[in-house]
């Protein structure tokens, strides 16, 4: 193996190749990572390596002297994780050269993600690269490949709508709140009930700058428990109606059989709020908020179906962008490939002395 087409490799498994129960066994936990890196250091012929280890993928991007080195890496990983090599081979994807670059770029710009277009993955790839740099296991090939990948991943995101519009219900709700209030830092949020989906929505609000969160539940203990977890406050259930007007955003996620907030309650709350809008997010089934409240001026009401529909529309819009994004990924991968090929001097892999002193691994 002498050409870069053969020496640059990607090997690993992800959500497309392995079901969740298998991915659970593949994941490298942070406390065991140093031990595994030590094993990689011992592999002869592995010139460069970066490990991308997220909840949905374990992938190794590297430059190896021979196919044997890649096979040894695979064996070392299986032994370390207690996997049978045959089982891993069945779910493992291995590509070389330009295809490895194209895969990395697809991953970095989110088109290979389970949640199409998500942006978190780019940060994870950057972290993986930074960690590899910290261990000095990258060299001229991976340095060029990763740095150009970051640049082109941004290009793909800005030249397509691959990451526009939220595709999770909680984030759709937060986006709608931003359309009403502009900034969430001064909004007061009331969470009715302590259901799982309400909790996720509260988390999404907090992650986007909301600081004031109040939880009301029929069982005050539950409300206080959740309030402690979210650094918020608990409101006794019997005070919900009278205090409704104090909140800008009300998230309904109770399991109550009947409506919790009636239109009359909202009319009374709006007398208190006057010019300030009130946003209801009804995630409960049966619904917590009387549908009639949506007709009131300055009141905005979205239920679970409304939010799901928006999320689906956004996903469809992102999906429609995939072909365009893939076309750019293809073009940019070719560009990176040509650069690393010419850097490697027409096909020969860089030798240890040519690289900017990566640690011998």
């Amino acid at each position: 193996m002498t050409t870069l087409s053969a020496t640059l490799f990607l090997i690993g498994a992800n959500h497309r190749t392995a079901p969740i129960e298998v991915r659970e066994r593949l994941a490298l936990t942070s406390n065991r990572l140093p031990e595994f890196h030590a094993q990689l250091d011992a592999l002869k012929g592995l010139r460069e390596i970066t490990v991308l280890n997220t909840c949905n993928r374990v992938e190794f991007y590297g430059v190896a002297e021979s196919p044997d080195t890649v096979a040894q890496l695979q064996q070392a990983f299986c032994a370390f994780q207690g996997l049978e090599p045959e089982s891993f081979a069945a779910i493992c994807r291995q590509v070389h050269g330009r295809a490895a670059i194209e895969h990395l770029l697809s991953v970095a710009c989110g088109i290979d993600s389970q949640m199409l277009g998500e942006t978190e993955i780019l940060g994870q790839v950057k972290d993986a690269y930074a960690a590899a740099q910290g261990r000095r296991t990258t060299g001229p090939v991976l340095n060029r490949v990763f740095q150009k990948t970051f640049q082109y991943a941004k290009h793909v995101r800005t030249h397509t709508a691959i990451n526009e519009g939220q595709i999770s219900i909680a984030n759709v709700a937060v986006d709608l709140a931003l359309k009403i209030f502009g900034d969430l830092s001064s909004t007061r949020i009331l969470l009715l009930g302590s259901g799982d989906i309400g909790e996720k929505t509260a988390k999404a609000f907090q992650s986007r700058g909301a600081t004031s969160l109040t939880i009301a539940s029929r069982t005050l203990g539950h409300a206080m428990e959740l309030a402690t977890a979210f650094n918020g406050t608990a409101l006794p259930w019997e005070h919900v109606t009278e205090k409704l007007g104090d909140y800008s955003i009300v998230v309904g996620s109770t399991s109550a059989p009947d409506v919790v907030v009636t239109t009359a309650d909202v009319v009374a709350a709006m007398k208190k709020r006057r010019a300030e809008p009130l946003f209801f997010i009804d995630l409960a089934l049966p619904r917590d908020i009387d549908a009639g409240a949506a007709e009131l001026d300055n009141v905005f009401l979205y239920n679970l179906d409304d939010l799901a529909k928006i999320a689906e529309e956004n996903l469809a819009a992102r999906t429609a962008q995939v072909a365009h994004a893939r076309q750019i990924v293809g073009e940019k991968s070719e560009a990176i490939w040509k650069q690393v090929e010419s850097q490697a001097g027409g096909g020969s892999p860089p030798t240890a002395t040519q690289v900017q002193e990566p640690r011998s691994i």
Partner: protein, 280 residues
């Protein structure tokens, strides 16, 4: 410099405002956000050209060019653009440049397309008194503020429609938040009332000295307009007129103000010296 007439410069300015609108429309059709810097640049060039055109007109009519409907429409568009160039970068309201370019393009192209509005140029209408000229200029500038208020009110209504009817894609996805639009509406309303009030105060200082020189229809319409906007401001501050009703009121008041311009202008008595025919 080529020997262009003032109207030619104003046509160039209109072309820039139309270009801003086209740039924004193309971006919206592609469901992309237009470049703020590009929009600002195009409108700034249009503003510079319009300023030069109005300056030339001012030299010809020996004063601020506010003597006929054409000039008033041009000055209103100029005021709206000037205000956008000042507040646009501060408030960073998405789509404000797009809507302002549309308004300016409509006002300027309509005024240029109707020759009758510019058939007669009134020379020296302020009699060389800079205070009266100042009074007229800030009155018209307040019209620019109210024009922008009508635009932000329209954006407010569109955003409310979008959120109420769950139409969130396309143009609607780029609109500013309801909170931001309400905030800017209140500020524009306050600024417009203050400017028009100041204009009336300056004008009244001369009116009391010589009541016969002031056109009654103009006086009544202007005072009524100011009073209407002042009442709206008061009701908003007391939170009695809010949300959609406030937005609709601001749009209707501006439409009434525009419609009244022609009536005010045509009710003016002939001036001395004799008005000059416009050169095309």
């Amino acid at each position: 410099m080529p020997d262009f007439t003032d109207r030619t410069w104003l046509w160039f300015a209109t072309a820039c405002y139309l270009a801003g609108f086209v740039i924004g429309s193309i971006a919206l059709l592609r469901e992309r956000r237009h470049s703020r810097a590009l929009m600002f640049g195009v409108l700034f060039i249009g503003f510079a050209l319009q300023t030069f055109g109005l300056y030339q007109r001012g030299l010809a009519v020996k004063g601020c060019p506010l003597g006929n409907t054409f000039e008033i429409f041009q000055f209103t568009a100029w005021s709206a653009i000037a205000l956008y160039l000042v507040i646009g970068p501060t408030f960073r309201l998405s789509l404000l440049g797009y809507f302002t370019s549309l308004l300016a393009a409509v006002l300027t192209s309509v005024s240029l397309a109707i020759p009758a509005w510019d058939a007669t140029r009134r020379v020296g209408i302020f009699g060389g008194n800079p205070w009266i000229e100042f009074h007229a200029a800030i009155a018209l500038f307040s019209y620019g503020v109210f024009a922008l208020l009508a635009l932000t009110s329209t954006m407010y209504l569109l955003q409310v429609f979008s959120l109420k009817r769950h139409h969130l894609r396309g143009l609607f996805s780029f609109l500013p938040s309801i909170h931001d639009l309400d905030h800017i509406n209140l500020r524009l309303l306050g600024a417009g009332v203050m400017l028009l009030g100041a204009s009336l105060a300056v004008g009244s200082a001369y009116w009391v000295q010589d009541t016969a020189t002031v056109n009654t229809a103009k006086l009544i319409i202007t005072v009524a307009l100011w009073a209407a906007y002042a009442v709206v401001l008061g009701l908003r501050l007391k939170e009695l007129l809010i949300s959609k009703r406030l937005a609709w009121t601001c749009i209707i008041l501006f439409a009434a103000a525009l419609l009244s311009l022609d009536a005010v202008n045509s009710s003016r008595p002939p001036l001395s010296p004799t008005p000059v025919k416009a050169s095309r």
